[in-house]
Amino acid sequence: MIAHLPLASFAGAIEFIFSPQESNVTGGKEVGGFDKSMELLIKHLEVTAIALAIALLVALPLGLYLGHRGKGEQLAVGLGNAGRAVPELAVIALVAVLVGVGLQNVAPVLAILGIPPILNNAYVGVSQVDRATVDAARGIGMSETAIIRKVELPIAIPTVMGGIRSAAIAILATATIAPLAGVESLGDFIINRNVYGENGLLAGAILVALLALTIEGSLALLQRRLTSDGLKVKTA
């Protein structure tokens, strides 16, 4: 009996993703199905992309610059640590009550959650570039920005991309509870289980997990592409 239980639920969830089910709530409207699943998946990606873009715009140049100058280590690293300690549920709930619901309010807040890893890793990646290399570049007459772009960044790519990947996943994960602040995402299936039922709940979890793994995989591939061959190291 118990052995049947998990399989039955997973089968139900897969069904939910692909074909509309009768709603848990009477009113006769159907819920779920492929169209709805895709709609929410796209919305989830949208809010993640927008928030990540904002975070990159703010944190990446700043982190690279600070790392290049070797200043602001306290800020970059401290923010990285502090950012990890912030409970995302509190942030989403507070924005909903104090600022307002909706994408225009939630996206910036999600971006804030993505800033610490990007800033931290950009700083660490660039500041750990061998000073001798940088001095050599300065010696042949490169401008400071050119040094960042052509010397430090390429070497720091693995670390910097690692930060971007962390940020992307953190934002994607928090977007799952964004429905609490009026932003639709795959989290709807999970948070609003009143409407979507148990099958919807599991379907939401499956879709979010798959989406996260896909994004992480894609970014890992991108990182591989961007890392110059001389740097490609095996393992950790």
């Binding site: 239980l5 998990p6 639920s9 997973f10 690293v77 990285g80 640590n81 502090a82 990890r84 300690a85 912030v86 409970p87 995302e88 549920l89 509190a90 709930a93 507070l94 909903a96 009550v97 104090l98 660490v124 996943i169 994607l172 994960a173 799952t176 509870i177 609490l180 989290g187 999970i190 709940l201 599991l202 939401g204 979890a205 499956i206 979010v208 997990a209 996260a212 793994l213 992480e216 095996k234 393992t235 950790a236």
Partner: protein, 245 residues
């Protein structure tokens, strides 16, 4: 409206039960309030049980996560070709957002604390495993050679030379794991596992004072654990300064 005897004898609330209230005077009734100090002072005891529940999730998760990740790292240190697949496997567990993971496990392990502990342990595996491997790999070959030269066996080298030298990296990973776990454990409320998330969800979802206090406790807890680990590191590796995470 009925027999006076009836009113006096059967459940009518006493006089003064129904209060006249001016919402303007009530800090916590204002939708726009940010923090109500008076309410906070009077209701701090409300956060005791959730804090204890939070620890009851976090501590077992960290212990289990550390033991498993550490064992895996020792294994992969000996059997090198295991390193990439183990990194990938722990990486998958790390990438899957905890909320999703909670509900993926739900049909198997049900609502409650156990599911939360399993998910949070899984989340910590990658960082602890990776940092342990890193720490062990970073031990200079010269040191190992010297030890071998002094006649130490492989096992002795591992426990008396490599691991002590790897402590800063291991603890760096542990610090990240601890802080993340304490923050994520707030989501355990979604699977009825209790914790400080209870003071941020449900009717508290729209009550900033409660959310802020609960969040503050979470962050203070993280800070305390982090400082404790740093102390452990200082005590166990007097020859080294702290390594940034």
């Amino acid at each position: 409206m009925g027999n006076p005897l009836v009113i006096a004898a059967v459940g009518e609330v006493g006089e003064g039960f129904i209060k006249e209230r001016d919402v303007g005077d009530l800090c916590q009734a204002q939708a726009q309030h940010v923090f109500c100090l008076d309410w906070a002072r009077e209701n701090l005891d409300r956060f005791e049980t959730p804090t204890v529940q939070h620890l009851q999730i976090v501590i077992p998760a960290l212990v289990i996560g550390f033991v498993v990740a550490f064992a895996l790292a020792l294994l992969a240190h000996r059997i090198r070709w295991l390193q990439p697949p183990l990194l990938a496997a722990t990486g998958i567990l790390y990438t899957i957002p905890s909320i999703a993971f909670f509900f993926l496990l739900l049909p198997l392990t049900g609502l409650g604390r156990d599911t939360a502990i399993i998910v949070l342990s899984a989340y910590t595996l990658q960082i602890i495993y990776r940092n342990t491997i890193l720490g062990l790999n970073n031990v200079p070959a010269a040191v190992k050679d010297a030890a071998r030269g002094m006649g130490l066996t492989n096992r002795q080298i591992l426990w008396k030379v490599e691991l002590p030298l790897a402590i800063p990296e291991i603890i760096a990973g542990l610090r990240v794991a601890v802080v993340s776990t304490i923050a994520i454990a707030t989501l355990a409320v979604l699977i009825s596992a209790g914790g400080l998330g209870t003071q941020m969800y449900g009717s508290n979802l729209t009550f900033p004072t409660s959310i802020i206090i609960a969040a503050a406790i979470v962050m203070l807890m993280a800070l305390a654990f982090d400082a404790l680990l740093l102390l452990v590191q200082r005590l166990t590796t007097p020859w080294r300064r702290a390594v940034p995470a």
